[in-house]
Amino acid sequence: MSQHAHTNSLLYVEGLKRKFGGVMAVSDLDMSVSTNEIVGLIGPNGAGKSTTFNLISGHLQPTEGRIVFDGKTVTGKSLARMSRLGLARTFQHESLLKDLSVYDNILVGALRFTNRKEREGRIFETAMRVGLSEHLLERAGSLPHGLQRMLSIAIAIAARPKLLCLDEPLTGLNATEVKNALGIIRSLQAEMKCSILFVEHNMRAVMELCDRVIVLASGRILAEGTPAEIGSNASVIEAYLGVPS
Amino acid sequence: MDVAAQLLVNTLQIGAIYVLFALGLTMIFGVMRIVNFAHGEFFSLAALLTSVATLWFSSLGLPTWASYLIAFAMAVTAVLALSYITYQLAFKAFLGDMLGGFIVSLGLVMLLQGILFEIFGGAPRVVPNIVEGNLIFFGGTITRQKLIICILALLITVGLYQFLQRSRLGLALRAMAEDQEAALLQGINYRKIALYGFLIGSGLAAIAGCLIAPLTSIVPTMGGGYLMRAFMIVIIGGLGSIPGAIIGSFFIASIESIGGYFFDLSTATVTMFGLIAVLLLVRPQGLLGHVTK
């Protein structure tokens, strides 16, 4: 598709398909993420959001299709490889190293900085950005849920990724925590000049934060555009209200 | 042809007992996530009690078959009681703690072994012949006694399988073995089911011991050898898988009877272990095991 010109795209996905058993979870997916962009991936349950997310991050292998990241073809490359290329992700469940301290959690994310001093600086800086400076010595598993989410983001950004993929980062947060988290995510993007792709169910947050929104339904792209465009798109509204749970 | 038939018959006969023993072990692992080292001791105890009781009742004038049946019942009951006690005292505290349960069962093995030796002594015991005579079965010779016992073992296995497929408890046990989290979410009472699973598993070991008693010489250490083979069986068939245990049992039994016939036992054992190691690399969950962590 012409709107996915891959010359300046950070991430470019073409013809992505993934089959599970007999079910086509994702089919003919074309999408892209540019530099310095926040893209939201939404859709009703079972639309294929998690699958797409896992395919892009290297957690799953596509059945067919092509993924290009930062100019390199990375279809089928592993999670670790993608991370070394500059794509970081968070996890929705089991998102932390529970028994380790906050400091050690971020340390694991920052281990690509082999220079000790640089690494330490990076850890402190990351902790400060997400509001965890006061908690560095605490055990990650003991943190309140909101801070745990922030920590999982911290682990992902510790290595200064080019593309940050967030898997439902706002689940389980109350209104204040959501506002806080959105502020942090926005400032992260601005300061680190990275792009962000995130899967979310919280519609208001998505509309507020994203430059662009992609709507998935039944494994295909239903609509794409700015939050305003998507908000008034009739088929999107139907997909959410009309599809039985 | 005769050799083949004989080997087949031997395999069936050896395998039938292995099935009961291995089924017990795999059930306990499947439900409690504990590898019970002392499974072999329950087996030995049952065999020893069967031998002692059969002889005693026979000496009172009862016909051998009656003595044997009473002894059978007594032995299984005794082992069930013992397993209940060990569960409450030892295993209950380690449900879900694989390493802890493992070490506890290790202590239990040594303790029970010592006790068995003290009570029964190391001298081999036998059970007098219950039924006399040989038969030709599928072209191979087998004693009537072995055949009857083999059929009994297979019947019990079938019965167990039906129980697990049809009954509520059976369903709960299988659910626990397959996906513990989901089972718990469905409201299954973990502790109660774990206890039942343990009792049934140990009961199977006891039954296996009672059935093997008339067929071999009984020593307190016999459980250990069976346990080793049962580990192999359960590994091949898949931890927690019941059909796997059945297939694995006959597979191991066939290697033993064929390998033991054509080569010596130790070469057969090395080859077997080697094959298993390779199988595990390709398919770590065994033939029919579940791919959970």
Partner: protein
């Protein structure tokens, strides 16, 4: 008492043990110390693998490999002492790397089973290979004359060195990665670190240390055979870790010493020794949740560690413990 005082006591105890064995010569008590240190090594090595969350039942296999390498080199080629130790560790390490790459793709109970199967295959093979002595093994493995008089002290000293190496790695950032893998290996992968590579590194190091330990065993015992390296040795190492406390580096040390002492004590019961040994293990498991270290901490004999082990100059200054 505080953590540092406890550690000082442990260190003192170790130095006394070395000093004692230096002077006491061939006494039974020296033998006891050697057995203790051998078990400490196995238990510590076993726990090292547990840092990445795996129970390595093949530990005893590397022990055996080390023993056989040094035994063979000493008896056939009269190789120098230090060389055989190094060879034992290195060959065990190389085999560990090969074994690790192949089997560490598999986790948890299944890795435990595979490692058990491999160890048994290795042992059974050793019984069949004639130039390794088959069932009878290798005899006449003696340390060189210049060291023989002080050999117990050397053994214990080397065990201390080897365990220290493992401790240093545990405290390094690699150790943090191991702990991270144990907690959640998906996150480690997502951070760009190859979990398989790290696990293999862990196994290789553990194999090296265990291999050298095996060589020491060969020299101490003078005779080795496949029967010395059954899976029971791995199981006993696991028991030592569990009884001493799996969450602390000092746990396997305490557990191994405890088990060795109990093992020797129950011999006075003659034929009932196994019975009492098993009973002791049972009682210990039930009475000591969290192992000895856990109990010591619960009874306030030992103050808890105040921070989850952070090592960063910035933090130590900023936050008082």
């Amino acid at each position: 008492m505080s953590q540092s005082n406890f550690n000082r006591i442990l260190l003192l105890g170790t130095l006394i043990a070395i000093g004692y064995s230096f002077f006491a010569g061939e006494a039974y008590s020296t033998q006891l110390l050697i057995w203790c240190s051998a078990n400490v090594l196995l238990a510590t090595s076993m726990r090292f693998m547990m840092l990445v969350g795996e129970f390595n039942m093949a530990t005893v296999m590397f022990y055996g490999i080390g023993a056989y390498v040094s035994g063979y080199l000493t008896t056939r080629y009269s190789a120098p002492f230090a060389t055989t130790l190094l060879a034992a560790g290195s060959i065990a390490c190389v085999i560990g790397i090969a074994f690790g790459y192949v089997s560490l793709r598999i986790k948890g109970a299944y890795f435990m089973i595979i490692s058990f199967a491999f160890a048994e295959v290795a042992r059974l093979l050793a019984t069949q290979i004639s130039w390794l002595g088959g069932n009878s093994g290798i005899v006449g493995i003696f340390p060189p004359a210049w060291i023989e008089a002080w050999f117990p002290a050397v053994t214990i000293g080397l065990v201390v060195v080897l365990c220290t190496i493992l401790k240093l790695v545990e405290d390094s950032s690699s150790g943090k990665v191991f702990a991270a893998i144990r907690n959640n290996d998906a996150i480690v992968q997502a951070a760009g670190i190859s979990v398989l590579n790290m696990k293999v590194v862990c196994l290789a190091l553990s194999a090296f240390v265990t291999g050298v330990g095996g060589a020491l065993y060969a020299y101490s015992n003078n005779v080795i055979s496949p029967a010395d390296f059954t899976f029971m040795a791995s199981v006993m190492a696991l028991a030592a870790v569990k009884l001493g406390g799996e969450n602390d580096f000092r746990g396997p040390i305490l557990g191994a010493v405890l088990l060795t002492l109990i093992g020797q004590y129950v011999l006075r019961f003659g034929a009932l020794d196994q019975l009492f040994y098993g009973g002791a293990i049972l009682v210990a498991m039930l009475a000591l949740p969290g192992g000895l270290m856990g109990v010591l901490q619960r009874w306030r004999v030992l103050l808890p560690v105040s921070q989850p082990g952070i090592r960063a100059s910035g933090i130590k200054r900023a936050v008082k413990p």
